[in-house]
Structures are given as structure tokens and as C-alpha cells.
Symmetry: C2
Subunit: 279 residues, 2 copies
């Protein structure tokens, strides 16, 4: 259960490692990237969760996050979005199966044995990173789209693990959009009571993690093609307001769903978390 480094790059004076390990949780090899700033640490950890179709490489090569990581002295970890491989169930569609783990533990066939991304992130990934790198054993979580849903739901369900949470264009309420309904039906079954604890807006509304996070930062492009049908940040905002949870949604004019959007505001998110990880 140890990390192997498959590739190393120097970036902005820090060290970026592409890693793999045999996961006890998913029962498959898993891949991730880990960026450590220069110096001996210990450093707090920022976990990035990516969106549909992504591997660990999309964020790593396109988000431009490491300059800010050096500035603030934080480690950034980006895992793959699902188990993968020949023995792992899959679907022809881009929004189910490999590349679409949705950060839940599947209970339904054929997904149940391997698709356990909630436990993978909250149990195994955190422990592996704390064991393998000079961390302060404190961490925050952020992500994009499906990974924004992942960041919000994991932070709301596991508030003891995280100091702060933010998201880019998150799937705010997967029980009320096509992406979420499809994935949750497949992974969790037809009983919608099981879905509720994986829906950020419903979790907020029910008071999950009440009083834990001083603010939650959400950036959303108003030119995002998925805004109206899939993402629905207004449900998140309404739920937060109802629960008395401060949540800042910044509608960014003209921005779309791409990494160009994330690269434009990634510095703000790293700074948001760094202030809370060191405060």
C-alpha cells in the first residue's frame, strides 16, 4: 500500500510527482499527482477532485495551480476520478463508469466491488499522502463539476477531515439533474433515500457540518453550457441561506466549463484554503 513515483517534474521550484499504488479500497491500481513546494515542510494539503472523463493529468497539466502552491506553501494532491482497467466495469457513455466515479461508494452491481471513491479519498488517499509526504496532517478539498460535487459532499459528510472546501462549477444537487440521477441510480440503486447524503444542496439544507466552515467558495462561469441543466448553483445558495451557512457564489461573466476558467481563478482558491489551513 505504498506510493510508487512514476514520473517527476520540477515546477515553479517545487516537485511534482505522478504516482501509482495498489488500492486496498478499490482493489485496483490507482494513479494521482502530488506537488510539494520547496523546503522541508511540514505543509498542509489541498486535495483536488476532477470532473467527468478526467484523470489526474487534466488538473495537473492545465490548472496552473503550482505557482500559488509555492507562494502559500501547500501540497496539492490530484487523484484519478475512478478505478480503471480491464477487470473494472465500464459504460460506453462518458458520464458513467471509468472516469465517472462520482465520489460515492457504489452498492450496486456491476460497480460495487471497485467504485468506492468516497472511501478511497477519505480513508486511503489521505492516509497515503500523510504517510508519504511531509504534511501537517491538515487538509482542505476543492474540485470541478463532478469533483466540485465530490469536494462539497465529502467536506459536508466528513467535516473532521477538512479545514475548508471550495468548488468550480460544482454539480450542486445531483439528485435533481440528469448526470446525478443516472450515476446515482447505477451506483446506489433506486432508493432515493440513499442519494440524499451525496447531494451537496440537500446536505446543506439538512444542516450537515453546521458551524464548521466559516465560508464556502464557489466560482461559476455564466457562459457554462451545463449551468442551467446540470450544475444549478442557485440550489446550493438557497440551501446554504436556509441553513445559515455562509456560501459565496461568484458568477464569472463569460467563463465556460473548461480548464481555462479554472486556471483564471485557481489562485483565489489556493489562497482561500491556505488562509484557513494556516489560520
Amino acid at each position: 500500500m505504498t506510493l510508487q513515483t512514476t514520473k517527476t517534474h520540477i515546477v515553479h521550484g517545487g516537485t511534482l510527482r505522478y504516482c501509482r499504488h495498489d488500492s486496498a479500497i478499490t482493489g485496483t491500481p490507482m494513479t494521482l499527482s502530488v506537488f510539494t513546494p520547496p523546503g522541508e515542510g511540514p505543509f498542509p494539503v489541498l486535495i483536488w477532485l476532477s470532473g467527468l472523463t478526467c484523470t489526474e493529468d487534466n488538473f495537473t497539466s492545465k490548472a496552473g495551480a503550482y505557482r500559488a502552491a509555492v507562494e502559500h506553501g501547500v501540497i496539492i494532491v490530484a487523484p484519478d476520478t475512478s478505478p480503471r482497467g480491464q477487470g473494472v466495469a465500464d459504460d460506453d457513455a462518458y458520464d458513467l463508469g471509468q472516469g465517472a466515479g462520482f465520489y460515492v461508494d457504489a452498492t450496486q452491481a456491476p460497480w460495487a466491488p471497485h467504485f468506492r471513491m468516497e472511501s478511497y479519498v477519505t480513508d486511503e488517499l489521505i492516509a497515503l499522502v500523510d504517510a508519504g509526504f511531509p504534511t501537517t496532517k491538515t487538509r482542505s478539498v476543492f474540485g470541478h463539476s463532478m469533483g466540485g460535487h465530490g469536494a462539497l459532499t465529502l467536506a459536508l459528510c466528513h467535516p473532521e477531515l477538512f479545514q475548508s472546501v471550495s468548488a468550480f462549477a460544482p454539480i450542486a444537487s445531483p439528485t435533481r439533474c440528469a448526470w446525478g440521477e443516472k450515476a446515482f441510480t447505477a451506483y446506489l440503486g433506486d432508493d432515493r433515500a440513499e442519494w440524499v447524503k451525496h447531494d451537496a444542496a440537500l446536505l446543506l439544507e439538512s444542516g450537515a457540518a453546521s458551524g464548521v466552515y466559516d465560508d464556502i467558495l464557489v466560482d461559476q462561469g455564466d457562459g457554462d453550457q451545463f449551468l442551467t441543466d446540470q450544475l444549478k448553483p442557485e440550489l446550493l445558495k438557497a440551501a446554504a441561506d436556509k441553513a445559515g451557512q455562509k456560501l459565496t457564489v461568484r458568477m464569472q461573466p463569460g467563463y465556460d466549463h473548461s480548464y481555462f476558467f479554472m486556471a483564471s481563478f485557481i489562485d483565489d482558491h489556493v489562497a482561500f484554503h491556505a488562509a484557513r489551513l494556516k489560520g
Copy 2:
């Protein structure tokens, strides 16, 4: 001969366009990206030339250059590295044919009709960009590896077109490395006298563009796997010293040949050119 925009993204408040056009020079469709900062301009132009295997997308999505482009108010243009398509000659190797135009005008079969990247950049691309965007009609050029060779040789052979030139890990002397010897033999034939005007070190040594550029900036990772056999910045430095041309080679400790290296120092290069484009 006009540019069509195929995709638009907002990035750092500016506008990034992926474009295509039918090239009169290559006789094929050509693709490029054009980033314009916010505001009406006119803006000076920075042309990026990419390395082997790249399209216009590698730099565009991975270099993280657009924050600095907004800061300094410059347009950045990144063309594809060669003509492409079914009717265009190609080779199975990554270092010849499509994706490997080497910024020369081929004189040899089967490359001659389409592979004319020197004329493409210096004639057609510049004119297209000046016609289609609010430019000051002044520009500089930079690039990576094969594109670093392209930037240096085009700037040295066409000093009337450019205000400044810089490079990341350029092929400093293609007549004296395997990549260059292979490409020049294929594109230009066996007569090495034809090669000399496409070799940055030999051009510098012969006094090309003497007195035009106050400095030439080169960044080179000392962990670059191609440093010793293919890139040879020491030949460039020796030639510049001999010719009395100021040339700053910064050996960057631990950095490799990847876009992680370029992303780490891209701000310095944009600032280097901006100072000379506006000075």
C-alpha cells in the same frame, strides 16, 4: 484567406480563440490560437512556436501564459507546427513530417509543396493576425525546442519583423544534432550550404541581425533529457560571444523538457518581450 474562429474561451478576462484558415502558403488548412487581452488595443503581438509533435493546443492549454499577457497587454498567437491532413506527406517518426515542420521551406520531395513553415509564419500568419486583430503591427517571437530553433532563426533572418526573441530549450544548432540533420536532409537536401541559414548558432556566428536585439533570453533546464545530444545551448552562447551579441542563457536547476518547465518561467519571457515591444 480569412480566419475562422472554431472555439472561444474567456481566460483571465481576455479572449482565447482557436482558429483555422486555408493557407495560401502551405496549400492546406492551418490552425492556431489567438489570445487577446481585454480592452480595445491596439496590442503588440507575441508569436509562440511550439516543438516537435505539438499542435497549437499544447502551449495554449499548458503554458499558463495568459495571466502575464493580460498584465502586460499583449496578444499571444500560437500556430500549429506543420501542415496536416490526408493529402500531406508524413513519416512514421515523431521528428519528421506532420508535427515537425522545423520552420523551414522544404525544397525536397515529398515535402516541398506543403512544408513551408518559414514563409507561413513570416508572411501569412503575421499578415492574418494584423488584419484580424487590433495589433500595433509590432511583434516578438519565442518558442520551445524545435520552436525555439524556429524563433531564433526567424528572428535572426527576418530582423525587420521582430522586436525581440527568446527561447526555451531551443535546438541551438540543428546542423550539429540528430534531429536537425534528419529534418534538414529530408526538407532541404544534402547540400549543407543550404542548412546554414537555418542554424541559430551559425547565423549568430556569421553576424546575422547584428546590432538589432539588445539581448536574447534562453532558458534551459539542466535536467532536460535532450540537453547534451540535441539542444547544445553552449554552441549558441559561444557563437553569440564571438559575434558580440548579448545572449542570456539561464540554466534552470532540475527542470526538464516539459511544459512544466515552460510554465515555471513563462512570466519572465512575456515580461522580457513586453518591455521591448512597448519600449
